[in-house]
């Protein structure tokens, strides 16, 4: 591609296959406590 540079693997759809394990951090427990951002959290599923 000469007009586009894609920054990531775009795997959001694939993430559902083994997703929803719930082992990740509750997002509000990390640093915010008043505003919710989820995309900056890490997936903690070793099988993903």
């Amino acid at each position: 591609m000469t007009h586009v540079k894609t920054l990531n693997k775009a795997n959001l759809k694939e993430s559902c296959a083994k997703g929803g394990c719930g082992e990740c951090q509750a997002s509000c427990q990390s640093a915010c406590k008043t505003s919710c951002t989820v995309a900056n959290q890490k997936c903690e599923n070793p099988n993903r």
């Binding site: 000469t2 586009v4 929803g20 951090q25 509750a26 406590k33 505003s35 900056n40």
Partner: protein, 458 residues
């Protein structure tokens, strides 16, 4: 659905449903205004005509072909397939507690959401008995989860630190029997921190949130002691000592900390507070907009947004420069992992309050989160009788981006995951009605975070 924006010289296109992030050229960026999601295989003649004044026909056709190619690869105009997972977390275990170990505080911060520490319920400390019962409550409701979180919160938890220690000891004693891993965190204003507390925190706490607002004059204006005097001079050396010891501790798994502040209408140049924190030796920093009744003098309102956005822009450029010169630091709201972030299922419902995450008061009452505490209608159980309002829990489980009308057409829904339910209720009157002011700032932060990734990928 796509979202495109131009910032700091970068033409950025997000494909919302796949999560793909593209940096494109000007022609590609402008061409997107002329196409619909059902992209034709061949470049329409009207598109060639629309751009032929500045670009050659060959360039126009090759750009269009790349657009078609991206769509075929599922990275542009991809479909939303996630509604099928919307109910997946209903009846999920509870995995995280906000343990309000002290409904009392030794500061009187002007903007405190917790009634200056007592949540308007009277000053009170949690007993060891309640703390242990809260751990039992979590163990009872967390079947199927290995990692559990307990945040010692307040008020100010160091006021009641003996109970913090006893609760940690009790929980650790249960880990093996229940096959659990407790991750403790603590949120402190730093005033009472001493060597004993610091050593205990660095040994036991996975994360520490150190509350300060940045520059001395900014901090002391709103973060005052009971007698009205500022706290900056007392707390900063405590936080520096905590972080110094933490970075050299024998428990490297407990590396995480945040120096975390709140910005208000008084310091819309909050980027200076971020940089000030960094100059003090801290490299894990979070500063967030105050959430407050618009009648309060410190409250941020819609008219403040242009200045706030400009400051986020300025801060993001400074952070790129610092990162490229090897002096980078983390700003919590600009952190984003485009590849290994949470799964789409997690992204449907955000923090999990009232469902996977609850707050416990010194009385042992259970609320959906710390921000609902003190509002009796939101009490959903008590740790001593192991009660839980199942209907309320299920309603929170279903508070997904598919149930929040304003999220339906919002490009940021899989990044913010529907925002803060408590803020929605407090300022819009309904958990499902997104608080627009917070949404606007969240979207701006996300744009900055992604732009930074584009700049660092060069």
């Amino acid at each position: 659905m796509i979202h495109k924006y131009f910032q700091n010289g970068y033409y950025i296109v997000l494909d919302v449903n796949s999560g793909a992030v593209h940096v494109v050229d000007e022609l590609f960026y402008n061409m997107l205004d002329h196409v619909s999601e059902d992209l034709a295989e061949e470049c329409p003649e009207e598109i060639v005509r629309a751009f032929s004044d500045r670009w050659s026909e060959e360039e126009i056709r090759s750009t269009y072909a790349e657009m078609v190619s991206l769509k075929k690869e599922g990275q542009l105009f991809s479909a939303d397939d996630y509604a099928q997972f919307a109910d997946m977390m209903v009846s999920s275990p509870i995995k995280a507690l906000c343990l309000n170990i002290a409904h009392d505080c030794n500061l009187r911060c002007e903007y405190c959401f917790a009634g200056k520490g007592d949540y308007c319920q009277g000053r009170m400390l949690m007993t060891e008995e309640v703390g242990k019962a809260a751990i039992d409550y979590l163990l009872h409701y967390s079947q199927g989860r290995h990692n559990l979180e307990v945040d010692f919160f307040g008020g100010e938890p160091t006021i009641n630190f003996d109970v913090v220690k006893k609760v940690v000891e009790y929980a650790r004693s249960k880990e093996k029997e229940y096959d659990k891993k407790f991750r403790f965190t603590i949120t402190t204003n730093g005033l009472l921190l001493n060597d004993d507390m610091i050593d205990f925190i660095n040994k036991e706490m996975y994360n520490v949130v150190c509350s300060t607002d940045g520059r001395k004059e900014v901090n002391d204006r709103v973060r005052a002691r009971v007698d009205g005097s500022g706290c900056y001079d007392a707390i900063i050396p405590h936080f520096q000592e905590l972080v110094r010891k933490r970075e050299n501790s024998e428990y490297p798994e407990n590396w995480q900390y945040y120096v975390r502040g709140t910005f208000t209408k008084y310091n819309k140049d909050f980027g200076e507070d971020v940089l000030h924190m960094n100059s003090l030796g801290f490299d894990q920093i979070s500063i967030e907009p105050v959430v407050a009744d618009p009648k309060q003098p410190y409250a941020l309102t819609y008219e403040d947004l242009p200045e706030v956005f400009e400051e986020y822009d300025r801060l993001s450029k400074i952070m790129i420069e610092k990162q490229k010169s090897g002096k980078g630091f983390n700003f919590y709201h600009f952190m984003i992992d485009l590849d290994q972030g949470p799964c789409a299922i997690k992204r449907l419902r955000g923090c999990g309050c009232g469902n996977e995450y609850v707050a416990i008061t010194p009385d042992g009452d259970v609320y959906p989160c710390h921000q609902f505490v003190g509002h009796e209608e939101w009490k959903m159980g008590n740790v001593f009788d192991l009660s839980i309002n199942k209907e309320m829990k299920d309603n929170f489980a279903r508070a997904t981006v598919y149930h929040k009308p304003k999220c339906q057409d919002c490009w940021a829904k899989f990044y913010c995951s529907g925002g803060c339910n408590a803020n929605n209720w407090q300022y819009m009157g309904n958990v499902l009605d997104s608080f627009d002011l917070a949404c606007e700032m969240e979207k701006k932060r996300l744009e900055c975070a992604i732009m930074i990734q584009a700049a660092l990928a060069e």
